[in-house]
């Protein structure tokens, strides 16, 4: 139904496109370390050597772990396998809360302790009115 030329052109362009897809896949695969925005506490535990450069760690703020005093705020990031203690001086975003996602940016003192210079709240994908949230709580 199509001429030979059209078929050849389709083969040519599609093969170029597919090889480019493959190339970008391989590039992203090898750059994975840099593409991810934050590491989990487990990944920090498994680091072969402590990095002295700035690092981002993400996970959940452990329930009942937030302690504030005049100078700083302390809390624990957990991925439910491993934990990391974080200390931070400054103000935290609105959605920073116990039991919710957080990303802390700063410097590792050791494998269990991060001195944060920036706290970001990681929002989850759930959206609902307060009444629905209360009803859900009542069921549990």
């Amino acid at each position: 139904m199509y001429g030979k030329k059209v078929k050849l052109r389709a083969l040519f362009i599609l093969s170029i496109f597919l090889s480019l897809v493959l190339i970008s896949f391989l590039i992203f695969k090898s750059l994975e370390e840099n593409v991810i925005y934050f590491k989990s506490p487990t990944e920090i535990k498994n680091l072969s050597e402590l990095e002295s450069k700035k690092i981002r760690v993400g996970g959940m703020v452990k329930k009942n772990s937030i302690k504030t005093n005049d100078l700083e705020i302390n809390f624990i990031i957990t991925d439910f396998k491993n934990e990391l203690i974080v200390s931070f001086k400054g103000s935290v975003p609105n959605l920073f809360e116990e039991g919710k996602g957080v990303v802390a940016e700063g410097f590792l003192e050791d494998r269990n302790y991060l001195k944060a210079i920036k706290i970001l709240a990681k929002h989850d994908e759930n959206y609902m009115p307060p009444e629905v949230k209360d009803a859900l709580k009542g069921n549990n």
Partner: protein, 235 residues
């Protein structure tokens, strides 16, 4: 049937169509804004700042959708040498680009109070910025390349290259850890947006889609008039 592709007839049809699309767009926009800003409830966690979602998410969807259409038509341009498709892709690009910028800006405004930062170089946001660059390159290619035949080819190649970025944007939140939250609406899973918030989201998406169609019709008409004025009676 052939008369449909006669620019003169098409211009007349589009002129008539534009009015209906404009009226429909205004109607849907008013309902959508009323639903999004007044009638829909506030979020249990974000309270009123959740309303940015009703602009942010539809804009992102529309810009992704338009780029996908441009890319797929670009295959048609390069493979089948279709003489009509490049007018469509050229006319679709501006509204897609504008919605892309709106998604980036509203995302930034939303990010500051909720995440605590205007910008993060995470996979979702960076790939969305890359989409804006592809849009810009596509639009600029028509102005930079003087020869029309060449401009058609260059812009199509840019659109096809950009197509690789589309699944990366979509799945970035699943493949890599990002600051951006994962998708709330998923064909395989239950939607994690309450139905009272899903309604304004849907209406606003329809409104933005209608707006894109309106701008597309205007731009397409301009392209046809340009061709007519050059004394060509075919596309």
């Amino acid at each position: 049937m052939l008369n449909y592709f006669n620019p003169k007839n098409t211009i007349l049809i589009i002129n008539r169509l534009q009015k209906y699309v404009l009226i429909l767009f205004l109607l849907v926009l008013v309902i959508g804004l009323l639903e999004a800003l007044v009638l829909s409830p506030e979020d249990y966690k974000q309270s009123d700042s959740v309303r940015i979602m009703y602009v942010h998410v539809p804009s992102a969807w529309i810009s992704l959708g338009i780029f996908s259409i441009i890319s797929i038509l670009s295959f048609g341009i390069l493979i089948f040498k279709n003489k009509n498709f490049h007018l469509i892709t050229k006319s679709l690009a501006p509204s897609g680009f504008v919605f892309n910028l709106i998604a980036l800006v509203t995302g930034s405004i939303w990010g500051k109070p909720t995440w605590g930062t205007w910008w993060a170089w995470d996979a979702r946001i960076t790939s969305m910025l890359l989409l804006a660059v592809f849009y810009l390159m596509f639009i600029l290619s028509w102005r930079v390349v003087d020869n029309n035949e060449k401009a058609i080819k260059v812009s199509s190649i840019i659109a096809i290259l950009g197509l690789i970025n589309i699944p990366i944007i979509k799945f970035s939140v699943d493949w890599w850890s990002t600051l951006h939250q994962p998708a709330s609406i998923n064909l395989l899973k239950e939607t994690s947006i309450h139905s009272s918030m899903l309604l304004p989201l849907g209406i606003m998406t329809a409104a933005f889609a209608l707006f894109s169609i309106l701008i597309f019709l205007m731009k397409y008409n301009t392209e046809l008039i340009k061709i007519k004025n050059k004394g060509l009676d075919r596309l």
